[in-house]
Symmetry: C2
Subunit: 337 residues, 2 copies
């Protein structure tokens, strides 16, 4: 089995703390042969961290054209994703890029077409997290009967000194809704995996703190194509941390606690399952490897990533325009014009 | 202290199981001297239950004109409230009437004017429930800092055989949204007591069961005048029973569990309080007595009851018209035309 030679772009939190630990566990599949960062010092620090002496490129395009990499890993500020994905595709280098695919839907219109020219894999790790994959299985197996209502309380205790809050490009975000989209696409990916596609959203969003860059609070009222309705309550800067998705069916309720990696069924049926606490990055890079080797790109497809982003944008747009916003129309760009 | 002579109208669940037990505890304030019901047999059964041999009236108007009552207690199907309140006011008999004040806002337009001619007290017992009064006090004392987000999970395990579900007029309701308004006005009264007035609502509602009369499921996305946003998730026919209001502030969270009569503060500050489990009916009839004796009608005012109903109607209207609905405009009737 030949190792895939990776070029890492971006030496921030994602590359250092999320990707590298996962790639170390997959060293039979990958080797990091190149590193590129806007700041050479950060690239050099990261190369030292990698340890296998990858080549440092001052230019992203030189790296793409070097012939020394089989795929590129993009972990850069969100607003740079579309342009850098495009350059990889034009260089015919397969790319795996951190989510969200773009700062907003209208900035992502080219992405779908590009993903047909070369392999573009959007790294939405939540599609690989065991607790949500297991929840999806249990719901589809009818363990709660017919799903009727869901309620997601996502209250994040981000203080001023939080490492993500401290990121420069997050403090003055070019992407919609700041953390609401940055984190929200994760949750929408998980929601869709468990309950299916979203039809429309009505939302209220607000900014309550000066240090979180943009809106830090939102309530999205979500109606799914299945007819299921539910709410997504997100609050960054909360004094309490909670991330629990409750789904009530006509027979039982399932409570999904991501941080505890715990699934609890209550009601007519009782069950409690603890699953692997994985954050999904190892599973994600394993899936990317399989896709590089010819497997269909399902979990990393651009369309999936666009759907996640469209739900968040629909909620933010609804709050501004005081109307219920359909996700399909937004994906077509119609609601943006 | 002279006892108030009450004429009870309606011999259903409310009169038998909610009002009578409370009035028995207040026998130094009240005596039941008259009973009226559409079905004479039910009136006779109820009179026997009362035990003090109240006079049975076949006609509501005869009771009002009899001179044998100082006030009338209306516990009749919701759709009858406006007309029967009006007849009491015209007979100059003070009236205490079960909530909601009317089947919808447009049917209640006369009520405010009528309440200026004679004393009309709307029996919203939730305004008297200790757990919500205590919560309001704690929030106003700043125990959670500045309120930011609330999330109310109100999941009611009503089966086909539930006594309320079995009520004929509830099975084919003339009031908006069936149980969504019947129960919802309670919750909106409590919400307003704790967090203040509601500005606007966006909602999705749905009917999931054939036996609950009307919409049985709704998610209301609520924005308060204070800027606080939150969701109210209500599902009748749920396999699990939960009634918990979580309010997250910038310093701490308060969780209000009505059924447990429990208040829990978590976050930077920790506290747990158990209060009296009263359903508020004794407190309510005590307040009504004080109002009869000249105290200003605050907790039982028609305007308060209209505000509760307008929030629920705004949510139901929002779902139908796919827009965010302002509560003020609805109270003016403008959104209905």
């Amino acid at each position: 089995m030949t190792k895939v030679r990776l070029g890492i772009v971006g030496a921030g939190i994602a590359s250092r703390e999320l990707h590298l630990p996962a790639l170390r566990k997959l060293d039979e599949l990958y080797e990091i042969t190149a590193v590129n960062s806007r700041t050479v010092e950060k690239a050099e620090d990261f190369a030292r961290l990698v340890g296998t002496n990858p080549r440092i490129f001052r230019s992203y395009d030189d790296m793409l054209g070097s012939g020394e990499i089989d795929a590129v890993v993009l972990a850069v500020p969100i607003s740079l994703n579309p342009g850098m994905i495009k350059r990889a595709v034009e260089a015919k280098v397969p790319v795996i890029c951190e989510k969200p695919v773009a700062p907003n839907i209208s900035a992502a219109t080219e992405m779908l077409a590009l993903s047909r020219e070369a392999m573009v894999y959007i790294a939405e790790n939540y599609r690989h997290i065991p607790v949500y994959r297991e929840a999806a299985k249990m719901v589809s197996q009818g363990k709660i009967g017919r799903p009727v209502v869901f309620s997601w309380q996502k209250w994040v205790a981000f203080g001023r000194d939080n490492k993500y809050v401290q990121t420069g490009w997050r403090q003055s975000p070019k992407h919609i809704g700041g953390f609401i989209s940055d984190g929200g696409v994760h949750d929408m990916a998980a929601l869709r995996a468990v309950l299916g596609e979203v039809l429309e959203v009505s939302g209220f969003s607000a900014r309550n703190f000066d240090f979180l860059g943009a809106e830090d609070t939102a309530i999205f009222n979500i109606r799914l194509e299945s007819g299921v309705t539910g709410d997504y309550s997100v609050f960054y800067g909360s004094p309490v941390a909670r991330n629990r998705l409750d789904i009530v069916g006509d027979e039982a309720m399932i409570s999904i606690d991501k941080d505890m990696a715990e699934l609890t069924i209550s009601g007519n049926r009782k069950e409690r399952i603890l699953v692997n606490k994985s954050d999904g990055f190892v599973e994600e890079f394993r899936d990317f490897y399989r896709v590089l080797n010819g497997q269909k790109n399902v979990l990393g497809s651009v369309l999936e990533a666009l759907k996640d982003l469209a739900i968040v944008e629909a909620g933010l747009l609804s709050s501004k325009e005081r109307k219920i916003v359909g996700v399909g129309g937004l994906l077509m760009g119609s609601d943006l014009r």
